[in-house]
Symmetry: C2
Subunit: 367 residues, 2 copies
């Protein structure tokens, strides 16, 4: 397997020192920043994540900050989700679309105040789109990337670990809400969110200088909880149906194709740049959609490119994420399936690199 | 050293199969695409590049295509370089700046026709900025990423190899000009350009389907020329002063700080979005600038983050690229130096990870 050549361009994070000391074995690059992918092994990391608590360096979830009188207006221009009811202290998962309805990112919007928002982004330079729109429409808003690096605490013991460091009040944070907590004299936004289905928090660490201090405090407090350094886990996120922008969908896909129609209030999201395109999409309905797929047989090799899906000799879709699930004792996968073969129970064939596999479309994700 | 975890998100290229068969040992990620970094070793690749000819998979130099009546107007909005005299068939190195004068990319603009341009980009999603501007200003232009993957032929024997595949007419292409050449019935733009100082060409391979066929044709034709698979070489590009966006400069820097003032015709580049900001910068002059630096002593370790530069106990700059040069028998480096210490001959100290090194600012790059 190939090595990764490090350079300043692949940015380190405020927690890189801790990640290295914990024995990281693999990285990917996400928003031009290092994102760990494996510590012990993907299967061992998975078992630990489901049993204990992990600290994840997800600094690569960079923030796009909008500040100023037009911040809320700009935010609504970016997404078909209706933001009028959103209050400060809330997080919304928001598809971001261009004027054709193509997805540019699938971030979490964090409303700090009416005139101050963060967009916690997936893997694309959304900053450049937002800056271009702000400039082109001459909006009264500042757009930049602040020194904020999310640290995720995930797993069944996340509440206990976080309470030890931030106090019992963290237990009261509700899902996709955030509140402010002090650490070493600094106020940090802590949200109940994260890229796993095991529960937990994301700490928006403002100021790189306190990164390792917070990292160390969490590990010191959690020794008896078996806290470990971890990272988004391929197996667990497929089981849970957590999509990966760039893997499971790209700017060629609409939110409806990604099963994100429920986050599109296209009729009421007045101002959204992709609104006209999405009204048409919503009316006609998508002809392909993301589905959970079980791939039969032994453990599949790594999915590093789309695997074509066939039925009766015709191409009916593609698999874009796949892994062996120890808990479900089968290969779990995410794919984009044509209308003709997206119903639960559809039997198809997947062209995996080690040969053709039988596969079955599922009704729902595994957890 | 850590491994790279592959996934669809780190896009493969039309030449990946050839790159793998040639025994690639390391990758970086560039524009969310795999870019090889080493085949035999960085030093052996360097020696070969300077002696023979290499075929480089630089598909990661993605193209942003502008098509339509407002294409030329949009192109001029993006850059402070005056494009009025540019003709179809020419390539221009163009700093791209935002409204503050910060560099968003340092690509090569390729003028196919008055109403059709490619921007061959460095490592940032420039597509999103250009789409945002086109949308915000309601320009009559289509902006997208076409299926075009550059393949670079670099080294002293590049002319000979290219003539064997495309005919002797390739020898007539002048520096930073391109012409059209047929390969398997398809017309491809071939430019005399590339990210080395050894001479050569970049083939804009339009249509992924012919990628491996062209790759194989080049290797078949060049066996006696000792053609090899290669990639941009860290040592050679530092010697030659070829800057790397994301390494040597970011959006925090102006073109003037990067020594790119000669590509800024700010007075006449009417329409450029960053023009007002750059007029101020040009008037006041930058207070820091990129410089070649010799770092004394043995071979430096890999430079994966900025190394602080001090003089008399004060921070006066940073080194962002560095490598041992076999030909110059010293460490060659690129750094951003403060005005007080950017003159040739300035003696400074570099905080390398293995200790403090003496270093000297140079007048010019090595080649």
């Amino acid at each position: 397997m190939a090595q990764i050549s490090l350079s300043r361009r692949l940015r380190r994070t405020p927690f890189s020192e801790g990640v290295e000391a914990a024995g990281v074995k693999g990285f990917t690059v996400y928003n031009r920043m290092l994102l760990p992918t494996v510590f012990e092994s993907v299967q061992a990391d998975y078992r630990h994540l489901k049993s204990h608590v992990q600290v994840w360096d997800v600094s690569c979830e960079r923030q796009v900050e909008l500040r100023g009188p037009d911040a809320a207006r700009l935010m609504q221009m970016l997404t078909p989700r209706d933001l009028r009811g959103m209050l400060p202290g809330q997080c919304y998962y928001v598809p971001i679309v261009d004027e054709t309805g193509g997805m540019l990112n699938d971030p979490v919007a964090v409303k700090l105040a009416e005139d101050r928002w963060w967009i916690s982004i997936a893997d694309s330079d959304l900053l450049l789109w937002v800056k271009g729109i702000a400039n082109g429409y001459r909006l009264d808003v500042l757009v930049d990337e602040p020194d904020v690096s999310p640290l995720a605490i995930q797993g069944p013991k996340a509440d206990e670990l976080m309470a030890r460091v931030f106090g019992d009040r963290v237990r009261d944070i509700r899902f996709f809400k955030f509140d402010m907590f002090e650490f070493e004299g600094r106020d940090l936004a802590v949200a109940r969110s994260g890229y796993s289905k095991q529960g937990g928090f994301e700490i928006y660490v403002e100021g790189s200088d306190i990164g390792m201090s917070l990292w160390n405090a969490l590990f010191a407090a959690g020794e008896d909880l078996q806290v470990r350094a971890g990272c988004p886990n391929l197996i667990e996120r497929i089981e849970g149906g957590l999509l990966s922008y760039g893997n499971d969908m790209t700017d060629y896909n609409t939110p409806h194709e990604c099963g994100l129609g429920k986050f599109c209030n296209t009729h009421t999201a007045i101002g959204c740049i992709g609104r006209d395109a999405l009204l048409r999409v919503a009316k006609e309905g998508p002809v392909q959609q993301i589905r959970p797929i079980t791939i039969h047989g032994d453990e599949v090799p790594p999915c590093d490119r789309p695997w074509a899906v066939y039925a009766g000799g015709k191409r009916v879709g593609q698999v874009t994420s796949a892994a062996w699930s120890p808990d479900f004792e089968s290969n779990v996968a995410i794919g984009m399936m044509r209308l003709s073969h997206w119903d639960a129970g559809a039997e198809v064939e997947v062209e995996a690199p080690d040969g053709t596999r039988r596969a079955t479309v599922r009704e729902a994700f595994w957890i």
